[in-house]
Symmetry: D2
Subunit: 345 residues, 4 copies
């Protein structure tokens, strides 16, 4: 059994990590940090996590550093300070904050309003989508697990760009997200039930902070100069993200070529499914799971290609993917602790 620390264990991402890892065959939850609930046991704070009697403790990097692995679910700007100490202690880290996702340190002040204090780690950190960088993840010290929308966009587009089937500079992503992406700590009016219920609205129009990591990774993976218009929307549900992606096909590539490209690429993947013609993914299919469903169509009137992707923002979009990365780093079965199907309905 490998000792594992979860830092930020009582936010939605942390709780989902505990839910998944509670009975993981190769891992022991050695340290669970929470500033809010320090001193209490997990099962007392969250009765649904029955049997997890581990006490919650305030973050102590020295103690975390005794674990072989640490999963970090901290707000932007916090991981940056914690990660270097853990790496120094020999702890391998999967970090789901944005702090090590961007390679260019100049992007941090612009998109996240802080100067990066450890830019040397930005080159080392491996962007944590196993389907796209499995080998590098397996041997990495530091994984920067991607933002909630980015996983869907990269899984949908990386193969098509690599195969030269779509125009890289003319990509539109219209995202719809459930409300758990807001987290549990900073309560704001927009997530107050009476405000969010029975409402749909766009936000961060014209410049969402996850766009730069999408562009960076797609450009890096495929060598294309990618440009993306990304508009996210809040929809009244708790979990799930649906991405509707509008594309210009290149050089006579038809909808079947696009679908084939994705099917080929993901044929052996345990967590990515490409739907047959005429079927479109539902976010309900992925609730609580590490799956990504993809479907490809074409608009008859304009010949524009349309791809729809569904992931759970707390699953493949967060905790599920972190566990998948951890499994690769452990050298254990990649699907360990990730096999339970979606709760349905």
């Amino acid at each position: 059994m490998t000792d594992l620390a979860i830092v930020g264990a009582t936010g939605y991402g942390g709780v989902e990590l505990i839910r998944l890892l509670k009975d993981h065959p190769g891992v022991r939850l050695a340290f669970l940090s929470s500033e809010t609930y320090a001193g209490q046991r997990v099962c007392d704070v969250y009765p649904h996590l029955d049997g997890v009697e581990t006490p919650l403790r305030a973050l102590d990097t020295a103690v975390v550093g005794e674990s072989d692995f640490a999963l970090l679910a901290l707000p932007a700007g916090k991981s940056m300070e914690v990660v270097p100490k853990l790496l120094d202690a020999g702890t391998r880290v999967v970090d789901v904050s944005p702090d090590f996702r961007l390679r260019d340190p100049a992007l941090y002040p612009r998109w996240y309003k802080f100067e990066h204090t450890h830019p040397e780690l930005l080159q080392e950190a491996v962007f944590g989508i196993p389907e796209l960088r499995r080998e590098r993840i397996a041997s990495a010290r530091l994984i920067a697990a991607p933002g909630c929308y980015t996983t869907g966009v990269l899984l949908a587009l990386a193969p098509l760009l690599a195969d030269g089937l779509i125009a890289p500079a003319d990509i539109i992503v219209d995202g719809k997200t459930g409300l758990s992406g807001a987290g549990r700590t900073a309560l704001t009016l927009g997530y107050h039930y009476p405000e969010a219920d029975e409402d749909v609205a766009a936000y961060a129009v014209g410049g969402h902070r996850h766009m730069p990591e999408m562009v960076q990774e797609l450009s890096s993976l495929t060598g294309s100069e990618v440009r993306i218009t990304f508009t996210p929307h809040l929809v009244p549900m708790t979990r799930g993200i649906l991405l509707t992606i509008y594309l210009d096909s290149l050089a006579g590539a038809g909808v079947d070529d696009l679908r084939s490209s994705l099917q080929r690429r993901y044929a052996d993947e345990p967590f990515v499914r490409v739907l047959p013609e005429g079927r479109w993914p539902h976010t309900k299919w992925v609730a609580g799971t590490n799956f990504c469903f993809l479907a490809v169509g074409v608009d008859d009137a304009t010949d524009r290609a349309i791809i729809v992707a569904a992931v759970d923002n707390l699953g493949k979009g967060m905790a599920g993917q972190m566990v998948q990365c951890l499994n690769l780093m452990l050298g254990t079965e990649e699907t360990s602790a990730l096999r339970t199907p979606a709760i349905y309905p």
Copy 2:
């Protein structure tokens, strides 16, 4: 008091018409048709319509023809048979079915799977968006009130195309709709609560039947050859439509030019509001109303313009707009029976 018939009075559109018209100062609800509930009084079927003791009757065109005006909320293919008889009887008609929206009869077999039996009326019918054809509506015999998405798209784009600010052939419309658009009669699994709750999905990808009317009207209003990619999505709420529209600006037109164009056009309109920079509409703002909110932005990374529009699919997207047309035809105050603000929260 003018005698008015509502045909299809117990569907969601019909009930909304009764709610709005119940206390209209110039109208008497003379005839309310319902096949399902014929023989019962409205207030017995729908207790919330307290005081509406009018008996529901099966459709009888001869009796409807005694009314001065008829509002029709019938399924596609049904209005086509009823409308000619009413017009012959001298009754002026506002029809919210698609049966008289398309000018080209050849589009009906393709998109609605029926041959049109009265193509001669397709040229006469006036497309019923008062902001775009106020004078013609006032004097018309037959109004074809538009589909639920079309109103938002036309209000957002007609001024911009007329002012030559956007590329007509490169328009993408991503729509999100609440579930009351499905109506109340044909119960299907997709609208069964446990299936629709906590779910988002695209439907009719690549060819929704409301796209042709959008293209027809925008082309007709502006003389441009318009092409639209339109993808609708179901979101788990009852009322409201949000449209996110992606555009290529023309000839150096900036976001301020686009916003100004809309503000100019709708400055004196009672039901269209253009939001200031940085503010984006919520569907909650229009629940139960005849309002349309519009906002304009630009994507910094790609210079693509983005317009977001919100309407209530049963309000400005259906019953509200029918009442607005009726008011124009009556020559009464255009806002009669339409002044109650949105229920909020």
Copy 3:
């Protein structure tokens, strides 16, 4: 036109008051107070209140005192300080806080954790349910409009107790409320969308602070010594309260006797409806209205009577009832500004 002030105009109750009163024929919104949004216009804060260009101002009792009437939607403990000044200035007040509902000042420290500073007004304040105290309301200086659950309980039980049909000391009220009752100011985790969505839970079990006012009023209205077990629950919706009330009938009173008692009492009431046998109220029927629906049944196995009541917590449970009281005080039509039916679906 009578000048009216709304104090606490930008909470959910205040916004509902503006929605209802915006076009009231006898009232001018002279002063709208808001600490949070002072300096802005209503329509800028709440775009759905289009046309309400009144500026919001911080509370100034001297200015409020210039209005003939004031509607107060302030938190518990705040009204107590404001009301005496307004009464001194000759302003008649409808207050929806609990501050003047209880006659016994000793109950305030126990249930609301404050000492009452103006106990002399507790005897004068009229409990504001028009169906039960219409004449006194019409001539009152100070109305204490009841809590959101209390209205339903009193409307359901006052006639039955007065007619001696039910045991006064053996009443159980199981309440289910939508989440707008929490208000808009104090954001707490329990009302954070991801926590409240897809969840039902009881709260304040064994002692909700609205119970004493139910007991006081029922005892006062009927001379019985009333005892109530009241358990409220949160359900995932925005508006509406459903009350399920379990009763022991007295002296052979059957379900028909109970229903007749209610029907007799409310036969001429514009806002209370007693449903026929076998029909049960839905909260959806009252959304946005001042209606209360009541239904009576009996449990075959135990002969226990069951009454179900539905009101909108922001309508008859708050702003609607305040407007109804105001109409009585103004001597205008009691249903003014309250005639719009529920939004449905």
Copy 4:
């Protein structure tokens, strides 16, 4: 590996059984019946059940009879015909229909509108709540798994009645259920999203068909003559049941005595948790699980005891409990396939 058949595999109960049993260590899904989807594979009908490639087949009792165990999720009246054939073939059965729950055949015509054709099996069938009849379940041929509300009521009350702490003839149960209890086959207006959303209503007031089995079992388990008033309500969510139970304590039993009774009884149970004073269960804590949470309080004003119970109607209220029974019958670990915590939030 034991061969297992699921009959009625594509309803909500059936799908939940597949979700749970897919990776059960001791069971092979040998036969999955579905009339609607016969001929398709499970994973094609339900993409979220990825990897379950078993073909669905129309029900064939001869083939089902080849399995060692059969789990039946059929509508009322259907199981009655199937079960005897399976028992004859030597297949042990867990049936979740009401067909074998009631011991008195005379109750079937009254509550379910059919004559029972195999009354001889009513005495043999074991009522399937493991916490209450563990040994009998382990050796049974036929388990009648209880209705969705009954599990919560029995777990809450059986210990208290057995310990003589509460009055058996004065029990009130107020139930709140999510909408998946309606199943997936018979689409009715009450479960149509726009009707059910933002609504709460009571149903089956005065006589729900699950009341007789509650009374039968509590009377049988405790020797008391039990009488229950049971009123269920629909709330707008998909999964979960909350029961609020009002009781008269006997002979000076206080709230601590009641809580202690439950704690003692369930101290070693893997799936029942009794909350400490002041904490009340949320349905969200049990979503997708086999847990039941119980809490006990007292109403200060009336000394009435209040118990709140939460279960997932498709978990401990259906599929979870069936699997728990199956585990007992198999002699395997009772918690096999039931250890995944609730999905949260």
